[in-house]
């Protein structure tokens, strides 16, 4: 009587979103590779890389929306999981340089030679293999989130207190990764990448493939999130978000639910970071900056918390605006604009772009007397979260 959990997750908006992302993922690389340079419809390579970056940010935003929008966990340190995934990928890319580095050492990355290290630290072992690195992309952020969440959720740290310690976590990692003797290139981070799986990272074909992969990851991440939020688990998450102690009195182990989504969300953020690094060509400790994590939360708020599609849209819209404004004469004022944007969205669109659109759509359907307005509201399964929270 109830459809399979995957089919249940696909309503009209979700299907449309997936199709659009898939179309973008195929068309942009195709236009870049096949059309002659200078043609009106040819997407230049730098734009492919730029949009690839936006797609990675969209995955990060999705992971934040899953925990914040549906479970009420406001993480202000999700950039840390993104950066850890990025570092795992960066370590693989560093080992691929081999003897082509400035110092020509076949094993040690340049910065280690520069620091007079004579052998590879143990935690760099295995990163010459892509499969191992890919596993670490999921495992390192996941494990950190699991340990962090296990301690925090079991002690019932919630609300602003949880947000503050997530900030502290990413800040602590920022300081650690800044240190040269930590073994991750210190201030400069990891850069100067040459190959990924034998393909030149700078090549147009590789960039196009990375873009396509990022779109694919966005679709898969979106499907996972949709499956979760449309399952009974999703209803429990919303229950936790809206009335945590009530959920406990019904016999749900709230901390297990939080731990599950928090860990999953961290893994997603790690994948986003791993796809981001080869496209931007560098990973350094600034990715751990607390401001980055806060910015990511702003994307979600702008797009619409608790809508998933909104999170992805918000990431693209805000970052497009950032690129647009910071490349013009308005560059020095970008941070003021970002702040103003957040204030305006909070005041005028407390449900974000997609949330506002949804309520407008539902009201207009209801006033048109459409009989299935009620069932449409039910299909979503969720009212928007309380913005005042």
């Amino acid at each position: 009587m109830t459809p399979h959990i995957l089919t249940r997750s696909l309503d009209r908006a979700a299907t449309a979103f997936i199709l659009i992302v898939a179309a973008v993922g195929v068309l942009i690389p195709l236009s870049n590779l096949l059309l002659p340079q200078g043609s009106m419809f040819q997407v230049p390579t730098y734009l492919v890389a730029l949009w690839g970056k936006y797609v990675c940010y969209a995955i990060l935003a999705l992971s934040i929306d899953l925990i914040w929008g549906y479970c009420g966990i406001l993480s202000l340190g999700h950039g840390a999981f993104f950066a850890l995934g990025g570092y795992a990928m960066g370590m693989y890319l560093m080992r691929q340089i081999g003897s082509r580095g400035v110092y020509g050492n076949p094993i040690l990355p340049d910065f280690m030679v520069f620091l007079n290290w004579d052998k590879l630290p143990w935690y760099w072992y295995g990163f010459d293999k892509f499969a191992f690195a890919a596993l670490m992309v999921l495992l390192v952020p996941g494990l950190l989130a699991f340990c962090f969440g296990w301690l925090a959720f079991r002690s019932r740290v919630t609300g602003v207190y949880l947000s503050i310690i997530t900030q502290a976590m990413t800040y602590a990692l920022l300081l650690a990764f800044f240190r040269n003797d930590f073994g991750f290139g210190g201030n400069n981070g990891l850069t100067d990448f040459k190959d990924i799986l034998g393909f030149n990272v700078q090549a147009e074909g590789t960039r196009a493939a990375l873009f396509l992969l990022s779109c694919l990851a966005l679709i898969i991440g979106f499907l996972i999130c949709r499956t979760i939020v449309t399952s009974k688990l999703g209803k429990v998450l919303i229950a936790v978000r809206d009335a945590e102690s009530r959920t406990r009195f019904l016999g749900y182990r709230v901390e297990s639910y939080k731990l599950f989504v928090f860990t999953l969300s961290a893994c997603m953020a790690g994948v986003a970071g791993a796809l981001y690094v080869p496209q931007v060509g560098i990973i350094n400790p600034s990715e751990f900056a607390p401001a980055n994590s806060i910015e990511a939360v702003i994307w979600v708020a702008v797009g619409g918390r608790g809508t998933l599609i909104g999170a992805a849209l918000g990431a693209v819209v805000v970052n497009y605006a950032k690129t647009f404004f910071t490349s013009g004469p308005l560059a020095p004022y970008w941070l003021f604009m970002l702040g103003a944007l957040f204030i305006l969205v909070t005041l005028l669109l407390p449900k974000g772009i997609v949330g506002t659109f949804n309520s407008w759509w539902e009201t207009s359907k209801a006033t048109n007397g459409s009989p299935d307005a009620d069932s449409a509201a039910r299909e979503d399964g969720v009212g928007a979260p309380n913005p005042a929270e």
Partner: protein, 253 residues
């Protein structure tokens, strides 16, 4: 570990010599109370008498400083947390109606059903005929069948109270703790609620806290009056309401 070898008491819920203080304020003071299986008990008492704190202790929200709290004569509730206690079969309705406002009425009941509450179980949940029949039955009992697809937040105050009682029914616990079920209800609703509780009492043990004396009288059950965290009087409604001390501290002359 927390299950004793033999039943210490025949009572379903047994509190003995319980003390709780918050920052030096003695909220519960040598409280002793026993609820027999199948009994319905009304608890009355002035504000601050410790009624809600007592429920907090039974459901694991508050840990007592001293004293014994036994469920079903064998389980020491003071060692368990809220989730475990709920799983054992103690359900609670809060003073302020607490439903999941952004979800539909039937989803509220679905969440309350006493089925697999694990992360895995809920992720791969497919629903079953038996479950939807139980939900239909509860909806009928609480008269919310027509409102099943409405968001719980859009219900009237009285309907929310009923939805919360419905959630208790879906949870199907052995003991129901019901905190002020008729607060803010009309006379008709109050009467219907009394009928509903009596119906539920046929196969559940119930403890109900209420200020509405007409309602308590209508329930027609044993009454316990609390005052300053301890039992002031216990007996039939007539015995308790004619007790000098009860009149003095609670009912007024």
């Amino acid at each position: 570990m927390n299950v004793m070898d033999t039943r210490a008491t025949s009572a379903m819920l047994y509190l003995d010599g319980v003390h709780v203080s918050f920052d030096g304020f003695h909220a519960i003071n040598n409280l002793s109370l026993a609820l027999e299986p199948g009994e319905m008990r009304a608890i009355i008492g002035p504000n601050g008498a410790g009624k809600t704190t007592m429920m907090d202790i039974i459901t694991g929200k508050t840990k007592p400083d001293e004293g014994t709290v036994l469920f079903d004569g064998t389980v020491d509730l003071t060692r368990l947390d809220e989730t475990r206690i709920a799983e054992l079969g103690i359900g609670r309705k809060f003073q302020k109606p607490t439903v999941f406002e952004s979800q539909t009425v039937q989803d509220n009941l679905l969440l309350a059903l006493n089925v697999d509450h694990s992360v895995r179980g809920t992720l791969f949940w497919r629903g079953s005929k038996a479950e939807s029949e139980r939900i239909d039955k509860v909806l009928e009992t609480i008269r919310l069948t027509d409102a099943r697809n409405r968001l719980a937040g859009s219900l009237s105050h009285g309907q929310k109270q009923w939805l919360e009682i419905g959630m208790l029914l879906a949870q199907d616990p052995k003991v129901l703790l019901v905190d002020e079920p008729v607060a803010g209800m009309t006379d008709v609703e109050t009467h219907l609620t009394a009928e509903l509780l009596k119906e539920i009492n046929k196969n559940h043990t119930i403890m109900v806290v209420e200020h509405d004396m007409t309602f308590v009288r209508e329930l027609g059950v044993k009454v316990t009056c609390l005052h300053e965290g301890t039992v002031l009087a216990e007996g039939s409604i007539d015995q308790v309401s004619s007790n000098e001390r009860v009149v003095e501290v609670y009912l007024g002359r």
